[in-house]
Symmetry: C2
Subunit: 409 residues, 2 copies
Amino acid sequence: MVGAGDDSFTIISVDDHVIEPPDVWEGRMPARFAARAPRVARLRDIAPGDTRVPAKMQEHIVQADERGTDYWVFEDVLIPMSGLGAVAGRDRAEYSSDPVNFEEMRPGCYDPAARIADMDLDGVLGSVAFPSFPRFCGQLFSCDTKDKDLALACIEAYNDWMIEAWAGYAPGRLVSLCLIPLWDPQLAVAEMHRAAGKGARAIAFSENPAWLGLPSIHDRNGYWDPVFSAAEDLGLPLCMHIGSASRSIVTADDAPRSISVALAPFSCQFTLMDWLLSDVLLKHPRLQIVLSEGGIGWIPYVLDRADYSWEHQGPWTKTPHKEPPSHLFREHFYGCFIWDPHGVRAIDDIGVDNVMMESDYPHSDSTWPHTLSAAREALKGFADEDVHKITRGNAERVFRFQPSAVGSR
Amino acid sequence: MVGAGDDSFTIISVDDHVIEPPDVWEGRMPARFAARAPRVARLRDIAPGDTRVPAKMQEHIVQADERGTDYWVFEDVLIPMSGLGAVAGRDRAEYSSDPVNFEEMRPGCYDPAARIADMDLDGVLGSVAFPSFPRFCGQLFSCDTKDKDLALACIEAYNDWMIEAWAGYAPGRLVSLCLIPLWDPQLAVAEMHRAAGKGARAIAFSENPAWLGLPSIHDRNGYWDPVFSAAEDLGLPLCMHIGSASRSIVTADDAPRSISVALAPFSCQFTLMDWLLSDVLLKHPRLQIVLSEGGIGWIPYVLDRADYSWEHQGPWTKTPHKEPPSHLFREHFYGCFIWDPHGVRAIDDIGVDNVMMESDYPHSDSTWPHTLSAAREALKGFADEDVHKITRGNAERVFRFQPSAVGSR
């Protein structure tokens, strides 16, 4: 078992990614939708500009694609798997957004047994994995799918697979993160109860539903209140992954790609400010929010800025908060980091109870297979108790997850 | 003189704002443009929806405006002065974006003698002031003005006024920050030489010209190279104020106003990443950049993130940098803060030679009239040498500014 004999360095990674295997929706959809379930096909004749491939994924089309590309086929769209989503084991110079087929990936991307073997290599005991093809909070089903009955069936099937086939393969190693139908709060609440009954431990939510064309968290009619109340009642943290609002930060059309890639986590800062200065947390005092892949080094600045802005601008903007908003962070939020040296030095300003770790397997920012040694290096000099909180204790508490060596090699 | 007997707490504020007095362009325009120069008129019949008022300023129109509103009249637009730009001396609960007329402002907003008196009250010895009506880097003239000959004449007149009437009133107290014609790099270089010859000490540049519809800093044809080279040759730092790309961060249309106000400085993080991962600084090793009103507490995180992203994503994104990009910060950038407790604690991670202070007079985030005591509190425990760098030394070096008590009461 990883970490045996060195309990203070047993890591729960609260942000990994699963590449859905082709059979996720097979046999898990109601009969009337079975023929329309998402499926994988190897296609050879897709040319750049093919309108069945969404605009944002056009870059993943390979011209003169003689070997064929694995596409997810669903409704009227074809969705390739970006090579950047499955780089584990590749040389950094070979990373590419070109599409990747299943046999070109490490099996740990899609197979739970192989994933656990890769976690063992990495010194990671527990893992929370976000969806890939449906996107980080299921935007594919919640926003793009036209037939909403079909979309709901796809979400239910994904959750069944996540709970039973993925996390269920090794309940002491893999934490179930489920999707909800964001287009209908009542359906979402029903699915939260259904999934929680089966063992779901967390919900993927959008870092900004307004940017998905959905009501914002500030909605005057309280659109999200039933969802937030259900999350409180069921003890399900909302995990908001960077990119779950489907908007990237692009400084200029001709800016080097490296810039939008480096800026990807910065949306998390907007999310935190958006929540801190809204009245949502005043109405939902038990809600728990995990800021997935957002890093932590910026958190003290955002809290200081929220408090200063509240003090100076609160009166004329009629902010309802009676206390500086930073205290809401400590009660509600968890910052997560892969590698963040200043963030680690700033943990006293963040709160040692509000920080978790990530491996980000199998993405291009991942520390895999060196997560354990990276953590040892990052947390050198920390008291055992604090190391325990950061590497696993906070995650165990918030995800109500009891890791065990079951399924470990 | 302020700071007398306590040299370590003499502050140069590198980010204040001047509300242009009505006579800036009077007598400073070539005869053929004199009749078309910007002027102030008190108008009574402007109703919300009047298309002469730019869309973003519609909120400043007061309905049933019986007292009349001071508008800048220029080409075919009417531009009111937002009350938020001139709050010095007001109670925070009375801050408002309603338009403000000249007699309702503290004279320090527009009159250099009164400004110096207000600086004395604030414990501020030197001040760099950004334009208001032309916007932070002169977007009004560079982007909106249709007749570019007229626009150039307006920029030259502004610079003459800034150098002669504003900074010239008290050259030991007020630092001249000039505008350039962003739409034509050759004209910009000519104006930089002309203004430098008259004593200009800095240039206002956009935090992201691409968002203004201009070529980006990454432009393959080197659009900005002559401007950056001139800035290097003339020793003129580029001051990039938050908001100088005319784009704010709005999380949702129905989000409380407090959120976009609190997020205003966050654009600065995009700017720093944009520059660190571009090749511009590899080509312009002497360029100096002041990140005005951006705060500093986030800088160590952005540097760490730039280095990590360069390490992981640099190879496949073909980043030209041979060393981790963070070193470019220390050679080129100055972070500026008003109130930033974590940032001050993080100065070792930022660099004590790369930090400056701001009062932000007369805006709503200003510490005026308590800037001196705020600085004393913020820098408690710092060595005198470091206090000197942060409060004035770095600014004196970068702006080539020798403060003196001339003009002080």
